[in-house]
Symmetry: C3
Subunit: 436 residues, 3 copies
Amino acid sequence: MKKGLIVVVLAAGIGKRFWPFTTDKSVFPAVDEPLIFHNLKKLEAAGFSRFLIITNPANDALIASRPVPVGIETATSIQKEPGGMADALLSARPLLEGHPILVVNAEDLVEDTLYKDIASGIRKSEPFIVGKYTEKYFDGGYIKLSQNRLMSIVEKPGEGQEPSKYINLVFHFFPVADIFLDRLRLVKTSRDDRYEKALDMFASEFAVSVISYDGHWTPFKYPWHVLDAMQYLLTHSLTSGKGKNVDIHNNVSLEGTVRIGNNVKIFENTKIVGPVYIGDNTIIGNNNIIRDTVIGNNCVTGFNTDITRSYIGDNCWFHSNYIGDSVLEGDVSMGSGSVLANLRLDEAEIYSVISNEKKNTQRAKLGAMIGRNVRIGVNASIMPGVKIGANSFVGAGVVLDKDIPEDSFCMMQPGYVVKKNKVKISGDRAAYKAKL
Amino acid sequence: MKKGLIVVVLAAGIGKRFWPFTTDKSVFPAVDEPLIFHNLKKLEAAGFSRFLIITNPANDALIASRPVPVGIETATSIQKEPGGMADALLSARPLLEGHPILVVNAEDLVEDTLYKDIASGIRKSEPFIVGKYTEKYFDGGYIKLSQNRLMSIVEKPGEGQEPSKYINLVFHFFPVADIFLDRLRLVKTSRDDRYEKALDMFASEFAVSVISYDGHWTPFKYPWHVLDAMQYLLTHSLTSGKGKNVDIHNNVSLEGTVRIGNNVKIFENTKIVGPVYIGDNTIIGNNNIIRDTVIGNNCVTGFNTDITRSYIGDNCWFHSNYIGDSVLEGDVSMGSGSVLANLRLDEAEIYSVISNEKKNTQRAKLGAMIGRNVRIGVNASIMPGVKIGANSFVGAGVVLDKDIPEDSFCMMQPGYVVKKNKVKISGDRAAYKAKL
Amino acid sequence: MKKGLIVVVLAAGIGKRFWPFTTDKSVFPAVDEPLIFHNLKKLEAAGFSRFLIITNPANDALIASRPVPVGIETATSIQKEPGGMADALLSARPLLEGHPILVVNAEDLVEDTLYKDIASGIRKSEPFIVGKYTEKYFDGGYIKLSQNRLMSIVEKPGEGQEPSKYINLVFHFFPVADIFLDRLRLVKTSRDDRYEKALDMFASEFAVSVISYDGHWTPFKYPWHVLDAMQYLLTHSLTSGKGKNVDIHNNVSLEGTVRIGNNVKIFENTKIVGPVYIGDNTIIGNNNIIRDTVIGNNCVTGFNTDITRSYIGDNCWFHSNYIGDSVLEGDVSMGSGSVLANLRLDEAEIYSVISNEKKNTQRAKLGAMIGRNVRIGVNASIMPGVKIGANSFVGAGVVLDKDIPEDSFCMMQPGYVVKKNKVKISGDRAAYKAKL
């Protein structure tokens, strides 16, 4: 009897480049639940029912703490030491032998049409991968192909050197897992592209076709990619609705798709412009504007706050702030008048430092990316693209123009002088008013 | 014929520890009138009708400028040089001889039940004092007692060394003034605890009972205690009401107990969350939020100001400020965006310097304490617990992290560099908008 | 046949003292059109119909780009090199010979009554000038007169040395241009007062009467004078009205005279207090207050902005700013929380530097004067009276206390230290909330 298909979901990434967030990208809570659950639901809707999640201990704890979507069967293989895709798959070999497998990333968000094309492909029982058609250069793996057939994967070819317009997305189908896993074991190259080298070897022996895909997909590698994922989910998955015990005060304006959790309060003279998701027990203060944003549970936005195109995790507190195009993992407070700036003075694309290198985020608007348990003082200004490590304090009035590591305390050096005041103030406001 | 009871009201304190305020605590204007008048009214309501106010020249001028509550008779004894309670009482001896006396502080706010207990106590014609039951250590005088009888007063015993759970409140009854005053004269110890030593001596000769009291009382010694007194009066004495010629614009929300003086204007989109007291001729601007606060006469809050749990004296001007848990004596202006921060980054209790020592205010939320005639520049940030002496200027952008004395001019040292701008700005907003 | 009157409009000023603006004062766009057009319309309404505009190439381009008021005839004489009034007139001599001429400044705003008096004066065909009655000392040309006759012009006599209370306004009538132009040619003095010396010479030969004027006139020489001109036009020429396709959201309050251009949007909870002019395609954001102000075309005020008594040119973008008594030529952006302060801490009159000298602007309230293409960072503070040259950047958090030239990049020097944070934050908001 032929063994059934297993969808192998890769969720063991260590996410060094996802700093300052303390949660890995595959389990990052996107809108209302970890990213992997969005994908499990989509895969289930596309007819897939059996999954092997290869994960690490930290991610496993997060995944295990939530109910799996109804109607699917999951097993988990835990990769104890961080490793690449090759190690991940090899470690799960006993569970996969003899099965057809579809290898996917936990965090890739694509459109339903691709799932349908994949399902058709699988019915043909021939190996395939998915190529995402892309005009703009992307710093990842490109597919070298001939007609519709995979020749090899070319990692980071450099702009202008692309072997095709197709990026390698990890939706890889192998009719019998063992044959691919054998090649994986044979490849002795460095860990980083071992999987791709095995795929090249496999493709040189068997015909691997390329399913062309031209729909939505954005990379999910750097912390600012949270904004892309969030924007996609807000636009494609969110529906309007209101939880229990919601208290909306006078003169509150709700526009577009707005999802409001249980026990939420929204105070006077506030405008919510959807798509906006507001988690349970969150309080939106007076005279706020909230646009294109996810706000988690147990947050308080305070008086007069503007949150635009941002992701706000649980337990955040604000007070008269501007938060633009920013990602706050959770448990962050901002003092009155502090600002997460999201636009350079020259309006150019914003850089952010990844592994000691300035990287162009290709965004004209990007604010700060802030780990857990951070406190920001009154009238502080965080410059665009700056990242703040968990458990850090940024003092009042600081203009923070570079990343700070975990457990930082950043404060103004005394920048003022105290002299004798020789001016006499009368305190006579009547005379003063007459001058106005 | 037996002489009648005189309530001796001590109002001659010099209030060094009450700096930066220029008005002594006993005559500090609390909500709508000086603290002493709140107490005179309460004593009058409890049936007392004859008072001797021992005061100093400055306080006397303030007291004399206001009408005394109807139905009471007051005399004033002016203590020309600053001195302690002992000197104060001895200086008034000629007016007290032969009378029963009840010695009280002008500034202590207690509940009506205590006044009733005191009145009962007096009818017995036996000496007594009042002991306030307290769980948390308080840095003042404790009562050592045996059964219900005063043994001695122990000043600042240190935490864990308290002789009882009872703090000595100054509600001291002596059936014949002279007997106690004689002991006062005999004690030759240092000025600070001379009164208490005389009380010890008196208690060793006569049975002094202790009336136990478990209701509201908070110390009134340091400038932040104004907030406690204000909070108590707002909660216990304020009633809703509106003066003449009040102009409340569209979409103003009033909640809870709100008292509005004559000629007050409140502009659009503002929320007042009582208990709030607003004095005569004050203008509350557009898009404000005002909570649990006293605002004096002739103030202007300007656009977009948030005043929370604060005391604002007369003639203050604001503009887009946050003022949290702060005390402004009067004639203070704040430029747009300046903030009185009220919470440490570590959310710990806030310290303030008293006589060159850092003192724990036991408050997790405390803003600034500001004397008269102070001007604060735009975007300045005043750190929690900071005190500003009268007639001072704090320049734009300053992050003030320590107290400044009277007549200070505090300004930023030039903290910026001017270089050549090599970026060309097109000014072409259409292209820019397209990027958004 | 007698030749007809030509009104000679002087519009060739080079406006060095009008820095940082890149547009000359005579063609500065005041409210809805360049200043010179306001005056042409007023002169046309007073019955004048033939004009010679003496201008320079830059101003001519601006003037030529707009339609001239219906019913008048204009010629233009272009002064290629910058020069004074004398050169300007002499360069146009061929066009003026034999004509009566009325010499006026393009930028002087006066009341209609003066135009009527001037028209009467011209009918008498005798030379005259206009003297503005002024109590307060003005740093310009005074008229020395005898009876009603001009003796001489005294430039900057110094306070207390004024030869009369009359300032020389440039409304000068000469029945035959040539006679005055001959004297202009004869005078060989320095350029600056050559015109006035010629007028003195002319007045010593012919009776020149002085029309006394006591109505509105303010000098228009320094950049802050834009505010006076704007205020005059707003008060005297503006009518309420709304263009096409205007979208005013819920709870917007319009008071007084408000002129709204085409395609304007005004968002919720905003108050406009007239006189206010809003140009085409401009977006007024949520929770704004706009008072006594001109805002040009294609502006966006953003969330929570306060613009008071200011002139805002085209293509400006704001976000949670306070802009008081300021002039922004156009294409200026301000980051969230940045403030143009308009009041000194000592509430004294504000100085501004003109040609390296501090000049008293005689204004208690004055903000910044900003040239084209300027970007201001978040939480920056610009001090009263400061001027910013075109194409400049002011970085986040800067407290700018002096003028900066064109093409400046002004940024904070790193003013903070990063240390190890030894405080552990629990992130337990429930415990924290309990403390509140």
